[in-house]
Amino acid sequence: MSLLSTAPRLLVDVAPRSTWKSPWKRVTVIAGMTVTSFWLVVLITLSWWAPYKPLDAVGGRLQAPSWHHLFGTDALSRDVFTRTLYGARQTLPVSVGVIVCAVTIGTVLGSLAGFFGGWIESVVMRLVDVTLAFPPIFLAMAVAAALGPGLQNAFFAMVIVWWPIYARLIRGQVQAVKHRDHIQAAVSIGATRWRILRKHVLPLSFTPALINATLDLGQVVILTATLSFLGLGAKPPSPEWGAMITDGAQFFYQWWVAVAPGIAILTVAMSFNFLGDGLRDALDVRAKR
């Protein structure tokens, strides 16, 4: 057993046993849902009501916040508020896409490894170990640098960073579920392995993956912005939050340029965290006890 296999994924195992009755839970879940749906609505309907266009020069250069420009304008006279809203169209689809891909790849490889064992397991898990031995930021940086800048390449980089986490998680769950009585019973009545994997094992393994995925979404949002901040994500002139913060960092005393995108990242990441917490309480068997 490798040392690294003991590296923890603690989110599910030590779920606090608070109930939905807790006011904290209620407030946070409601807040999480509200903010998430706010951003979703923005993302979908934005083009109809946005005050300006994200790439257009409007008003003067580096204007402080005012009623015309809620978060001021940047050096190219673009409205920061509008750009921040449009940023959701960059970050959110990418983040969700990364998680969906990572969960899919991780689930396939992890369940294969967990269910069949043998050489499949060794190969997959060694790959997982090696990948996880790299710090996520560094690996993503290296891959994104190798592929060149661009949101697409950052997307691949992040999938590469994230799939092993799910592979390990699913493998652990599958192994645990595999030995349960009803699975053994299914085996004993002659169900094929594929059928058992599909019908019995995976559905049970998926809940923790879903909970983790929601919690991880917030982290992906942050990593996306981080890569852009380092110049490895979105290319100009797209209004990506991390890239906007890079711009803002230059205009340190024109603080408004970086404030809005930062708040956007914060609210999105926080609401995903809230939702993940809520989901865990709602779905996790242990938490219900």
Partner: protein, 577 residues
Amino acid sequence: MRRHVEGRNWSKVVAFIAVGAIIVASCGSSKKSATTAAPTGTGSQSTTAPSGTTAPSGTTAPAGTNAPSGGAHELVIDRDMDINSLDISASYCDTCQIFNTAVYETLITVDPADPNKLLPRLATSWQANTDNTVFTFKLDPAAKFADGSQVEAKDVKFSWQRLGNLKGSASYLMAGMKSIDDSDPTTVVITFDAPNSAFLPIVAASYLGIINSDVATAQGATDAADAATADKAGDWFLAHSAGSGPYQLESYTQGDKLVLTRNDKYWGAKKPAFPRVTIAEVKDSSSQLQQLQSGDADISMQISVDAVGQLQGNADVTTKIVDSYNYVYIALSPGAAGGEKLQDVTVRKAIKEAIDYDGAIQALVAGKGKKQASPIPNGFIGSAGLPLPEYNLDDAKKLLSAAGLADGFELDATYPDANVYGVDFNLMMQKIQQDLAKVKINLKLTPIQFTDWITRINAKGIPVTAVYFAPDHTDTSQYIQYFGLIPNSFWAGSAGGGAAGKPMDNPKESDLLKQALGSSGDAKAKAYTDAGQQMIDDEIIIPIVNTQLVLASRTNITGMHYSACCNLDLGLLGLAG
């Protein structure tokens, strides 16, 4: 009801955070007194063992006649450093110019007030023969290296030959050198294959500073033809210096700071004012500004024009915005893969006319910059009288229609992700993208690392890119050698498609350069001006802004200046009062 209670909860959250902040704040302010007391405390510390390697202790300043002004004050300069080497013959960077000038000395130097005026330094006099192929320098017999030995002709020969043979980026300055005669220790005679009227300004370039050849040779340095592979002194130069300048290298920590100490035996008339000079790596403009305000730095070299306003009303700090010879430009490469549409010169002209220069200068440097006609920056010989680029959208559209491209097209714009001379390339390219969109040209922006950029532009060129340039010396020839469509010019090659393509060629420019190098005075100026017009007509290099420079220092620092050859000559700085 419940909702109401929750609302109150959240207001408590805010209150909690606010209280927390106040607590933290009060801790902070109580500690601050300790922080502000620091400079005095640390000043006395400098008597404890210097961490450097060979430097003499800066506190044992000799009393009496040699006593320098400035006393014990140590100069701190904030700068985002770009040092590629501290070996003067291998170095090539803006910070290198400052270091080289402070530690080594050139035979002649440039008057900061007038870049076209040359002043003596190690040489007391110099002369060129009539066809500008042979140059003779008389060395000052008083000139001494920091170790006390005399600066002799053999040192000059060694330094210049080594510069040429190490084949660093600055080695082009020695191109065409045929021989150096050092038979008389105080006389240097250098002969060129072809007329080189640019050589006197080149001698003032910081890279041509003189190394103590005995010391360097002992450390494995060589000036032989195979120096590029045989020279072993590169590492030694990272921690040591062997020059005659007012300061010596004490230590260099990459990414942290470059520390110089006073050369106590400096032979020149103006004694170095500071026992120690520290160039601290401070990357961003805001930190540089903060440190200057608090007095933690005496000079901050890269304060952005948008931040300068913060310094207004601060009597301790003096800021001056001066013209510089630095500029940023975009380059169009017809020979590059994907640049086929650019092969038509009218298309390139249309692009040039579609750019809103005044708007760009406003957006990029808050108006603190000038338009520039050709690759020859304003103020250099040959720059005067050339037509400045004009924003003319209608004409641009007309030109594109004429070229059959009224419906627009797409161009790849890959550029280094850089921020130079206060210009953020991302911003600049977005601005140009905005402008070109109006003539339906769609620029696809890709910022990449500088190394990657060099690789690409050398391999097969880049259709549209952005770069910057600062002068190495005060002669215009460098611009034609680098930007002109002449053999071995960087841009002739790159615009032609790099290694995969064929260099572009404009024979008139070669001729004009030859003409200029063989003449002087008005004839030379005329040749350079004509070459400038040729380069304008090439429509390859489009200067966007000739930036101005923020000179920001504590008010008690004297001698702040910007020099075309040397950036900032530390030897000229002093302390008032």
